[in-house]
Every structure is written in structure tokens, then in C-alpha cells.
């Protein structure tokens, strides 16, 4: 009788697996969440582990799906890869599960979630964090050069470059060696940042159409080229630039701050560096918000999970995302900002940020203007062609910015109709 009861209890326990990003702090957060949830839900066993990187986390997920051993759910999925998984019917749309609208409401994601809608109208990813990519400036060097605040427009940046070179010939405005490398994801941290700023956030690609603001894109390319031609931009490998004061500007994500605290404690927000939105064209209205690229990833539910596992995971996910205290815990542990509309206004978050990590404040304030990557299954080649057909030839003077931009558009058109 007792044995039968024991067997029955064991049968009622649903085991689900959750893969975290291969980042120790994210793993810590999810382990804590799982332990807290299991303490109040003994009928669920959640196994949390970091996703394999063989050789990339995306390839690890594909291999697991192919081998029919994926987790029930995982984080660390950006929208481009999510589009590929959705097309292969490997993931489940969250919005088909009961209680989706409540979750969006409870987590204050009404505005944020719109950037995560897939072409079929579904939401396959619950955004977990949004890292607006902003620009770090060496305030101490700018002050030495006679500036009290960082430049806002292209002309102002170029003017700073002239002063930097006049006083410190060995220094540069910006180190970006990856600009000459076609690696697809590097475009997120250079061209996309400046393009969204210049175009007021106009999408590069919508569905199968190129919807980019040509003038803004060409302006960005011209800006890069001018910086390089005047030797304000260094594109050769350089071990460390911004941290050692060899450059005055860098594209900066909030994950850098814990590393700086460890390795460059002399970099203090408001004293040695400040953070601003990306530079914009000279004609950009000063009163308008400046958009930027968002390094943003979220959580997906895999289709190979059983209905019971899906249900158990959905309940766990609702529990995690319905409590703002969990998002605060996320900030505390990972140093990244949760994908919520109110992260820059909710006192729960702003008071913590102001007290503990003031450098995060501009990131929180810019979340509404931070746009995730575009969703297209050919994202890898589209972004690689941007480096190959456009940015590199423009930088080395083989093509004018306008011709380089046209070359990219010509090159990607066959991919868009696939």
C-alpha cells in the first residue's frame, strides 16, 4: 500500500529541464528561481544547466533538437535564431498558452513585447533582458581637451577627433577593428547601433522587404569612412583601447561594468566615463529620442516537450515573470536589465540602480528606444554581406557609401525571397 502510494507520488512529479546561457551569473539566477519554485511546488522537478556551446550555443541547441534531447525550455535565444526555430516548428508560441495576456500585463511588457512579434503574428520568445547598446565616453580625456560633455552629432565627434589628434597624436576617437571583419554578429555592435540612431529606429528589413532609411544608412557609412580617413578610427587589432585611454569613445554594453570593476577600478561612472545614446547626423532634432540597437534575448519553449512538461514549464515561467522582485534579483545577479517597459521608471528598479550601479541608469532609460535584431531566417548571411559587400569596400575606398549600400541591397534581395 505504502509502496503503491510512493509510486503514485513519483509518477505525479513532472521533471522539466531548463538551459541557461553559458554565463555563470545567469545560471545562478535560474538555479535560485528553480529552487524557490520547487520549494512551493514539490510536484515539479526543474533541472537547470548551462546550454552546451558546441561550438556555439545555437549549434548546441540545433544538435540537441536533432538528437531529440532538447530541454523543455531555454533562454539565450535572439529573435533571428528564434525565427529559424519557429520555421522548423521546433518551438511553441507562448501566446497560445492560457494566461499569456496576464503575463504581458503583470511583467509590464506591453510596449517591449511588440518588438518580438514574429511574421506569423505569434510570440515565440518571452524577452528576458534588453541591453541597449550605448556609447561610452572618456570624460576625463574630454575634459583635458576642453569639453564638458560628450559630442552629440557627427560633426561634433569629428571636431573632437581633430582636437584629440592635435594634442595626442597616438590616441584615436574609436577603436573598432571588427569593422573590417565580416563576422555577422559584429554588425550588431557597430552599424546597427549607428543606423538605428540616424534613422529614428527605422527597420532595416520587414518581412521580405528592405525597408531601411537609405539616407541614414549612407550617412552612417560616410561617418565611418571619414573617421577612418582622418585616422580618428583605428580598425587594426589593438589589445585595449578605451580602458587605457587610447580612445575616447566605445560602443558599450552593461555587461562590461562588472569586468571593469574587477580589472579597471579607476573607471568610475560620472568621473572618468559617461554613457550617452549614439551620435546622430547633424540635422537630427535635439528634442527627439535617439534609438539604438538592443542586444536582447529571451526564453523559448521547445515543441518536443510533452504536454505535461509544457504545462509545468509554463507555470514556472509565469511564476518567475509575474513578480518584479525576481527581475530585481536578475539585475542584482547578472548586472543586465530585464525586458520590462518600467525598468527606467519603476522605483523598485531605479532606486537599486541609482544606489548600486548608476552606470546602468542610462541603459534603463533607453530601453524604450532599443530595438532587437530583425527577424529573418537568413540573418547570418544578410549581416555577413553587410560587412563584405558594403562596410569593408567603403572603408578601404573601393566603393562610395552610396554604392556600397546599393551593393548590399542587391546582394541580399535573393535571400529575402527565399
Amino acid at each position: 500500500m505504502l509502496m503503491a502510494f510512493g509510486l503514485l507520488s513519483a509518477a505525479q512529479v513532472v521533471e522539466i529541464t531548463f538551459w541557461t546561457a553559458p554565463n555563470p551569473s545567469q545560471e545562478v539566477f535560474w538555479r535560485q528561481m528553480a529552487e524557490a519554485y520547487m520549494a512551493i511546488n514539490p510536484n515539479v522537478k526543474i533541472v537547470v544547466s548551462p546550454m552546451p556551446e558546441v561550438p556555439t550555443s545555437e549549434a548546441g541547441i540545433l544538435a540537441a533538437i536533432a538528437a531529440r534531447t532538447p530541454p523543455t525550455a531555454s533562454e539565450n535565444i535572439f529573435i533571428g535564431f528564434g525565427e529559424q526555430l519557429a520555421r522548423s516548428k521546433a518551438i511553441v508560441p507562448w501566446n497560445t498558452l492560457p494566461g499569456w495576456d496576464n503575463l504581458v500585463q503583470n511583467r509590464a511588457m506591453n510596449q517591449t513585447i511588440e518588438g518580438w512579434k514574429f511574421a506569423d503574428g505569434n510570440y515565440y520568445i518571452i524577452p528576458l533582458y534588453v541591453n541597449a547598446m550605448l556609447i561610452g565616453w572618456r570624460l576625463d580625456i574630454l575634459r583635458e581637451l576642453g569639453y564638458s560633455q560628450p559630442p552629440r552629432t557627427y560633426s561634433e565627434v569629428l571636431a573632437v577627433g581633430e582636437v584629440v589628434k592635435a594634442k595626442y597624436p597616438g590616441k584615436f576617437v574609436w577603436l573598432r577593428s571588427e569593422l573590417e571583419v565580416p563576422t555577422w554578429w559584429q554588425r550588431w555592435f557597430d552599424f546597427f547601433v549607428f543606423y538605428y540612431a540616424a534613422s529614428q529606429g527605422k527597420a532595416l528589413i520587414t518581412g521580405r522587404e528592405i525597408t531601411a532609411d537609405d539616407q541614414a544608412a549612407i550617412g552612417v557609412l560616410q561617418f565611418f569612412k571619414t573617421l577612418r580617413d582622418r585616422k580618428f578610427l583605428i580598425t587594426e587589432p589593438l589589445a585595449t583601447g578605451f580602458e587605457l585611454g587610447r580612445t575616447v569613445m566605445t560602443v558599450l554594453g552593461p555587461w562590461t561594468f562588472p569586468w571593469w570593476r574587477e580589472n579597471y577600478p579607476e573607471l568610475v561612472y560620472g568621473q572618468t566615463f559617461v554613457v550617452t545614446p549614439p551620435p546622430v547626423p547633424d540635422a537630427y532634432p535635439a528634442e527627439k529620442p535617439v534609438f539604438t540597437f538592443a542586444d536582447a534575448k529571451g526564453v523559448v519553449l521547445y515543441a518536443q516537450a510533452t504536454p505535461a512538461q509544457r504545462q509545468a514549464m509554463w507555470e514556472f515561467i509565469q511564476w518567475v515573470f509575474s513578480n518584479p522582485a525576481h527581475d530585481l534579483k536578475w539585475i542584482e545577479i547578472t548586472g543586465m536589465l530585464p525586458a520590462r517597459d518600467d525598468v527606467g521608471t519603476n522605483a523598485l528598479f531605479t532606486s537599486y540602480i541609482q544606489e548600486k550601479e548608476p552606470a546602468l541608469l542610462p541603459y534603463a532609460q533607453n530601453i524604450p528606444y532599443a530595438l532587437p535584431p530583425f527577424a529573418h531566417p537568413e540573418f547570418v548571411e544578410i549581416q555577413e554581406l553587410m560587412g563584405l559587400e558594403c562596410i569593408y569596400p567603403v572603408l578601404v575606398g573601393e566603393l562610395t557609401p552610396a554604392r556600397g549600400w546599393d551593393a548590399w541591397k542587391r546582394a541580399i534581395r535573393p535571400l529575402l525571397v527565399k
Binding site: 561550438p55 520555421r87 522548423s88 521546433a90 573590417e180 571583419v181 587589432p237 589593438l238 585595449t240 569593408y392
Partner: protein
């Protein structure tokens, strides 16, 4: 009795047979079947595309770059590594003592991690390295080592030469040690100097070692991956792109398993044909010079 002997032989060979089956034959068969499909590993439906993957591979510039660059690498790497290995072998051969110590020392780069070496080289060649600072202070500028297409190719080739010269030197050293001393003594009595001895005795009798090293070196050029992956990513503008980088890119960046397998098959064919040609050329050279 024979049956027992056969079983023993199979048992002894079974670890290799098992490993070869699991890690070579099954993947090979799997790859050969994938070349006819467009598949991303997870889609429930594999789309049969016939020979479309081959048509794409033959018309895309990426594969052409990989194909041509392999011969560019070979043009730099093969003569350089042969000369370097031969020089190292001759130096070790003529050392009065500690021959083994130095032979092992020259072999060590072969064991070094390609990624670690790549990171060290990247550090040495970075814009702000002491080496480049010195060049700028002395000559006013420093080369764009990894951003200039020709220089990047030379840098990567030099790294591979450094890695393999010691290994190939061991092959030459074994060949040198197999040459009877009497031949040199007789040549000396006939009045032959060191250069003539080298040309008339050492080189001809080292032919088997040359043959081995040349075939290995040419084959190696088709498998270059780590060095360009770490240093240049195949750039600038595909100047250092290789077959292996292309396979990796298609399979793991673009998730095109079928097309990646197609490129791998073409790589295998190109390797086989090239090695066959170099073998024939070296054999013909050996026959013509009377080395065989």
C-alpha cells in the same frame, strides 16, 4: 588454429575498427547522404534538392576563394616548411651532443594549441604591441599585418610553418641518420666539398623523406582552420579563407547541414586529386633524377 589466430587479430584491431566506424565511416556515409538535401538539422522535413548543393558550390565565390587560397597557402607553406625542416634537421644532425634534446625542442610547436598560439601572434601583431611600437618609432609606420590581404596570408602561413617545421624535421632527421657515413668519407677522399656532398649524396638519399614531407605538407593545406579562424576569420575579404572555414561557416553559422556536407565532399575530392598530382610529380622527378 587459424580461426583462433584470426579472432585474436580482430580482437586486437577492434578498438581501431570500432573508432573508425563510429567516428569516420558512419559520419562519412551520413555526409554523403546529406549532400542531396537542404536541411538545417532540425526541420522535420528534409528537402531533397538533387545536385543543387553542388551547383551552388561550383558557382559561389566563397568556395572559389577557399579553393584558390589553398594553393596560395601551399605556394608559401610547402617550400618554406621543407626548407625550414631540412635546415633544422641538418643542424640537429651536426650537433656534437644533445641531439635528442634539440629534436624534441623543435617538435614542441607541433604540440602547442593552435588557438593559444593564434592569440599570442595576435598580441604580437596588434597595433599597440612593442614590436609594432618599435617599427613605428624606427620606420614611421607599421604594416597592417592582419588587415592586408597578402600580409595576412603570409603571417598565417608562417605560423603553420613554425608549427610543422619541427615535426617534418624529425622525418628528415630519420632520413639523414639512415645515410651511411662511408658515402661521405668516400666522397671526401674524392675531393668533394660539403656542398657537392649535400647535392650528390644527401639530397638523393633523402628522397623518401622529401616524398613523405611533400605529400603531408600539400595535404595539410586543405585542412587549415584554427590559425585563420583565430587571426582573421578568413578575411580581409576572403584573402585567408579556407575549405575548413567554409565548412564550419555553412554548418555552424548558417546551419546548412546539406550544403556544408557538399563543401566537405568537394574538399575531400580536391585534397585527393591534389595529393595524387603532387605524388605523381615527385615520383616522376625521382625517376628522372634516378632517386627511385
Amino acid at each position: 588454429m587459424n580461426w583462433k589466430k584470426d579472432v585474436g587479430g580482430w580482437l586486437l584491431a577492434s578498438p581501431y575498427v570500432l573508432a573508425a566506424t563510429v567516428f569516420f565511416l558512419i559520419p562519412l556515409g551520413w555526409s554523403l547522404s546529406l549532400v542531396f538535401y537542404d536541411w538545417n538539422l532540425i526541420d522535420p522535413v528534409r528537402q531533397f534538392v538533387g545536385l543543387e548543393n553542388f551547383r551552388t558550390a561550383f558557382t559561389t565565390s566563397r568556395v572559389l576563394y577557399a579553393f584558390v587560397n589553398t594553393y596560395k597557402y601551399a605556394a608559401i607553406f610547402v617550400p618554406s616548411v621543407v626548407v625550414a625542416a631540412l635546415v633544422l634537421a641538418l643542424i640537429v644532425q651536426h650537433l656534437p651532443r644533445l641531439k635528442q634534446f634539440f629534436a624534441v625542442g623543435f617538435f614542441l610547436p607541433y604540440l602547442a594549441s593552435g588557438v593559444a598560439v593564434g592569440l599570442v601572434v595576435r598580441g604580437i601583431l596588434s597595433y599597440d604591441s612593442p614590436f609594432n611600437e618599435f617599427l613605428r618609432a624606427t620606420f614611421g609606420s607599421s604594416p597592417r599585418w592582419l588587415r592586408d590581404p597578402t600580409l595576412a596570408l603570409v603571417v598565417i602561413s608562417a605560423m603553420i610553418v613554425w608549427k610543422f617545421a619541427g615535426y617534418y624535421a624529425l622525418i628528415f632527421l630519420a632520413g639523414l641518420q639512415g645515410i651511411p657515413r662511408e658515402l661521405y668519407e668516400a666522397a671526401c677522399l674524392d675531393g668533394a666539398g660539403p656542398f657537392v656532398q649535400f647535392r650528390r649524396i644527401t639530397l638523393p638519399l633523402l628522397y623518401p623523406a622529401f616524398y613523405t614531407v611533400l605529400v603531408l605538407a600539400v595535404g595539410l593545406c586543405f585542412g587549415i582552420f584554427t590559425e585563420p579562424y583565430v587571426l582573421t576569420g578568413g578575411g580581409p575579404r576572403f584573402a585567408t579563407h579556407t575549405w575548413q572555414l567554409e565548412i564550419y561557416y555553412q554548418a555552424f553559422d548558417r546551419y546548412r547541414a546539406g550544403y556544408g556536407a557538399t563543401v566537405a565532399v568537394l574538399n575531400a575530392v580536391a585534397t585527393f586529386v591534389s595529393v595524387l598530382i603532387i605524388r605523381r610529380v615527385v615520383e616522376a622527378w625521382g625517376v628522372r633524377r634516378g632517386f627511385r
